[in-house]
Amino acid sequence: MSRGIRWTEFKPYEKNLVKVLGDLEADILEALWKLKVVHVRDIHREVAQKRKVAVTTVATVLDRLFEKGLVERELKSTGGLHYEYRPSITRKQFENTIVRDVLRGLFETFGDSAVSHLINRAGIKDKQKIEEFKGYLEKLKQERK
């Protein structure tokens, strides 16, 4: 998972990106994915369509997303000193890293329970596939040692 986000922060009962981010963080990241490279005011305009928020609040949250490694920023001097923000990770990459890290965390912590639940959930009956899962679990355990 991206730097600064841990699988233990995963909130299963929340919706969409709020499962791993704060409300505003999620909205800002969504806006960045939509707008690509932008000024803080553009992000603010986009987010303000959904919720009442100040531009300085958006700026502060952008600092937090930068620290989490989800946002990149470049200092520009044309038209006054300002940052140009862009997402440092695509939506697909973000989703993949969350799924990978959450599953890894679950397997590491809850081992057999996590595997059997996943097998039942996916409706896997093929013995070979089940063995593959078990093998994967063993590999994870070995890695931890």
Partner: protein, 317 residues
């Protein structure tokens, strides 16, 4: 308790009691002074801290001399040597250590606070060519205020931050990228005027002095209320002086609201803001006796009063 031990403790008890009475009298007395008399209120607040330090140094010196003169009795074993040594050394040492620590930390903050803050924020100097308009505003406001134009440093953060560090004759204003991109040029000018007012009012020295005096008298618990009260008075004074420089109370009001909104979400690293005099050292949305900045609502109310006053003056003309 052994009489000899009491003799060693009593001066400190009296000194503490006296310090507390002085501090309490000032805190109550402040209610009688006009709210806008910031300079008088500052002097009133500094007085009990200064008085407490004087009493504590005097008592500690006497105790130290008394201790030396009592060595004969202690050696002869009239009282428990261990207990007396413990109480005597702990109180005298604590008093002197607090004083020494307060003086040295005050000196470090006053003379090197700017370097520490620049290092902590990883701030970089801003050239005139990069931000010509901002430098023009700073130079014009400094000329009006009669102070040396401060150096300008950039904090590479999106959170809006503005703070002043350094001494009156070598001041530095630090601004974050987030502040420059969030405020309008007039709001920025009002914020810079607030910081330049801190320089004009020599708040770096006054605040360092207040903190040092508080640390020097650890027994005076009311000092922990008085020190932030001094900070708050200086903030009000800087707001007032800022309006006098720009004649734009509305812009400062707007800037204050915008900056305070940045604190609507929890921020990391707020601790570092405490090293210097900034707009906000802690959440401006939360008031309190220990808060070094006045509550936003109170600041806005006083600025609105200034705005109304300015409008009435205009009408009279």
């Amino acid at each position: 308790m052994n009489n000899s031990i009491l003799i060693l403790i009593m001066p400190y008890l009296y000194a503490t009691l006296l310090s507390l009475i002085m501090s309490a009298a000032v805190i109550i007395g402040l209610k009688l002074v006009r709210k806008q008399a910031y300079k008088i209120r500052t002097m009133m607040l500094v007085a009990p801290l200064l008085g407490s330090v004087t009493i504590m140094v005097w008592v500690s010196s006497l105790c130290f001399i008394h201790r030396l003169s009592n060595i004969y009795h202690l050696v002869c074993g009239q009282i428990s040597l261990e207990s007396v040594r413990f109480i005597c050394t702990s109180l005298v040492t604590l008093a002197f250590a607090s004083f020494g620590l307060a003086v040295s930390s005050g000196m470090i903050t006053y003379y090197s606070g700017d370097k520490i803050a620049i290092h902590l924020f990883h701030a970089k100097p801003l050239n005139q060519s990069e931000v010509k308009e901002i430098y023009e505003t700073i130079n014009s406001l400094s000329r009006k205020a009669g102070v040396r134009p401060p150096k300008l440093y950039l904090i590479e953060r999106s959170t809006p931050i503005i703070l002043t560090v350094g001494r009156r004759n070598s001041p530095t204003i630090m601004v974050s990228v987030g502040l420059l991109e969030s405020l309008s040029s007039k709001e920025l000018a009002a914020s810079l005027a607030h910081e330049i007012s801190h320089i004009k009012n020599n708040d770096g020295l006054i605040r360092t002095l207040a903190s040092s005096l508080k640390f020097a008298t650890p027994f005076n618990l009311l000092g922990y209320l008085i020190e932030p009260a001094i900070y708050r008075e200086r903030e009000f004074l800087a707001d007032e002086a800022s309006v006098a420089l720009t004649n734009e109370p509305s812009e400062l009001i707007s800037a204050l609201i915008k900056i305070s909104e940045a604190f609507a979400v929890k921020t990391k690293g707020v601790f570092f803001y405490g090293l210097a005099m900034g707009f906000f050292l802690e959440s401006p949305l939360r008031g309190g006796l220990f808060n070094k900045h006045p509550p936003l609502e109170e600041r806005l109310n006083r600025l609105l009063q200034l705005k109304n006053l300015a409008e009435k003056k205009k009408e009279c003309k």
